[in-house]
């Protein structure tokens, strides 16, 4: 389904933050905000919930921990027991470094992959961008025009001009 997006570009993150607050106060429903780098306080201003990515990280980490620990337990006690240096088959201290490594590995890779899936990114995927400059030096607030069929787009255009947007464009994605 294609979307018609009306967006305004700002030159400065301070202007952007003020504009997001102003939009919130005017009850304008922002579709999304795009910035070239993380802007402090933007999450709060947009009223976003805390990311749940770290819960995924914990689960992936726990999975890595269990994989390593149970895997080594099975290998060294049931599958192929070998005595190393007179230690018991089930030598927990020797398992801990590998358990640690796999915990980090699973959490790291798992979170990266999850993040890519959530964002719809991946190798070979070309995402449509509103404007190339939002990956460089422009800060963008985007509105979905479908949300404003009743009130009309003038209200948003007025909002952009009053908050100091340097450019206002419309684009169909």
């Amino acid at each position: 389904m294609s979307k018609e997006v009306l967006y305004g570009l700002y030159n400065d993150e301070e202007d952007l933050l003020h504009a997001v607050h102003a939009a919130h106060d005017a009850h304008l429903d922002i579709m999304d905000v795009y910035t070239p780098f993380p802007v402090h306080g933007l999450d709060d201003a947009m009223g976003l919930d805390e990311s749940r990515l770290h819960i995924g990280g914990f689960i992936f980490g726990a999975l890595g921990l269990l994989t390593a620990f149970l895997g080594m337990t099975w290998i060294f006690t049931a599958d192929w027991p070998v005595i190393y240096g007179g230690k018991p088959y089930w030598s927990v201290p020797a398992f801990i470094p590998i358990t640690f490594e796999l915990t980090v590995l699973f959490a790291g890779i798992g979170m990266t992959v999850t993040f890519y899936i959530i964002c719809g990114m991946g190798p070979g995927v070309i995402n449509k961008t509103l404007d190339d400059r939002i990956t460089d030096d422009k800060f963008c607030i985007a509105f979905d025009t479908h949300d404003f069929e009743e009130t009309g787009l003038d209200k948003i255009k007025e909002f952009f001009s009053s908050t100091g947007a340097s450019e206002v464009n419309i684009k169909t994605l």
């Binding site: 230690k87 201290p93 470094p97």
Partner: protein
């Protein structure tokens, strides 16, 4: 604006009550002790080392932050200044231990009772081979010299920091530049000398044993305890209406430091344990054999309290940003690291005492029998700890009341006030 800290009568009374409990515990301990006063002096050493180390670590981290261009800690830097100015008291406490080496009023260190060492016994031979370093001259000289240097640099830093408050804003930040020089100096000096003192003060209670990880491990324990106390003191001052610029953002970063250095401590603990376990050399494994057999509760509780608890609780964002959860963890972990030092010092001292009182007997076999104050901390040991804590709080609060809690002209103050994680 509530910037001048007032050390109120109620707080003084609280400190004196704690110190009273400490004195009472120490008196009870002294007169109910064995002929070598083992429990009394091991408690004295344990708490002196613990609180002196905390003071040193405040100085070390403070200097590391200055050297690393850090800004976020400025709003509560006067708390650290208060803590590191405990150093002269720590020096006196450690000099009492040093005096005991000369006057023989305690027998904490097997290497000091050279007359009881038998050159025909392998265990004693090892200790005699170390007496070039483990002797009362090095112990006393090192303590005076190194803690003296720490204190000297601490006074320079504190002096410059307070002087900055009272002058007109200096566009060249000349005082801050001087502080950077002293701070950069204490980092290598403190890094090496603290290891030296940990070997002398703590590791040498197990005179025949050594570990190259030990100095780092004990220092990490000091560092985590210091961070916990910082969080507790800061929250207390905040509750009394001071430090109004300290926000949840600063609390969050303190929580991160407690979290991170708890993991760092565990890393060192485990590295020391695993290398010794893997190599399986008898003269090295004896340290853990002793602790796992005779002190199993403390040994495993140590890991649970100092690693598992802060790791699982402080992992979440929200627990680091709330006073309740952070203070709970800080208090428990502080006690946990006190127990960690208990476990470093008590078994060695106890073995030394047994060695001296049964000089003719062989090394004991199997698990040592239960003994309150050694196997687990008893009321007397906890009381002694409260006494030292009272003294510590008294010194820290007195120092904080001598200067404004608000470092008005620090170049990083604005950055710290607007800190956002």
């Amino acid at each position: 604006m509530n910037r001048e800290f007032v050390f109120t009568g109620r707080e003084r009374t609280f400190c004196f009550v704690l110190m009273g409990i400490g004195v009472l515990s120490m008196v009870l301990c002294f007169f109910g002790d064995d002929e070598l006063q083992t429990r009394f002096w091991s408690n004295f050493l344990h708490n002196s080392v613990f609180f002196t180390g905390i003071a040193f670590m405040a100085l070390f981290l403070y200097s590391a932050f200055i050297t690393g261009w850090s800004g976020w800690h400025i709003v509560f830097k006067r708390v650290w200044e208060g803590i590191y100015l405990f150093l002269p008291v720590g020096l006196i406490l450690m000099l009492i231990i040093a005096a005991g080496l000369w006057l023989d009023f305690h027998h904490l260190y097997e290497w000091n009772d050279t007359s009881a060492l038998n050159p025909d016994k392998l265990h004693d031979q090892i200790i005699l081979g170390k007496t070039g370093f483990l002797n009362k001259f090095w112990f006393t000289g090192g303590t005076i010299l190194f803690v003296g240097i720490w204190y000297f640099i601490a006074t320079r830093l504190r002096g410059l920091s307070v002087a900055e408050d009272n002058e007109e804003r200096d566009p060249n930040f000349s005082k801050h530049r001087k502080m950077r020089i002293w701070a950069a100096a204490i980092l290598p000096i403190g890094g090496f000398t603290s290891a030296f003192l940990i070997w002398q003060w703590v590791m040498s209670v197990d005179s025949a044993w050594y570990s190259t990880m030990f100095a780092w491990y004990a220092a990490a324990s000091w560092l985590v305890s210091m961070l916990c106390l910082t969080a507790i003191f800061t929250a207390y001052l905040k509750g009394r209406g001071y430090l109004e610029q300290v926000s949840h953002e600063h609390l969050h970063d303190m929580g991160k430091y407690i979290f991170a250095f708890s993991i760092f401590w565990t890393y060192l603990w485990f590295s020391q344990f695993m290398l010794i376990w893997y190599a399986n050399v008898g003269e090295e494994t004896i340290y853990f054999r002793e602790r796992m057999d005779s002190y199993p509760i403390l040994f495993w509780a140590n890991l649970a309290v100092n690693f598992a608890l802060p790791f699982l609780v402080l992992m979440r964002n929200s627990t680091k940003r709330k006073y309740g959860s952070l203070l709970f963890i800080a208090s428990v972990v502080f006690i946990g690291h006190w127990m960690d030092f208990f476990l470093m010092i008590k078994p060695g001292v106890r073995k030394t005492a047994e060695h001296l009182t049964h000089a003719a007997g062989d090394a004991h076999h199997g698990a040592a029998s239960f003994m309150s104050g050694f196997t687990i901390p008893g009321f007397i040991d906890i009381g002694t700890m409260l006494g030292f804590l009272g003294l510590f709080i008294f010194v820290v609060f007195s120092n904080m009341s001598r200067a404004s809690l608000y470092p008005a002209n620090d170049p990083y103050l604005a950055e710290s006030i607007h800190h956002h994680v």
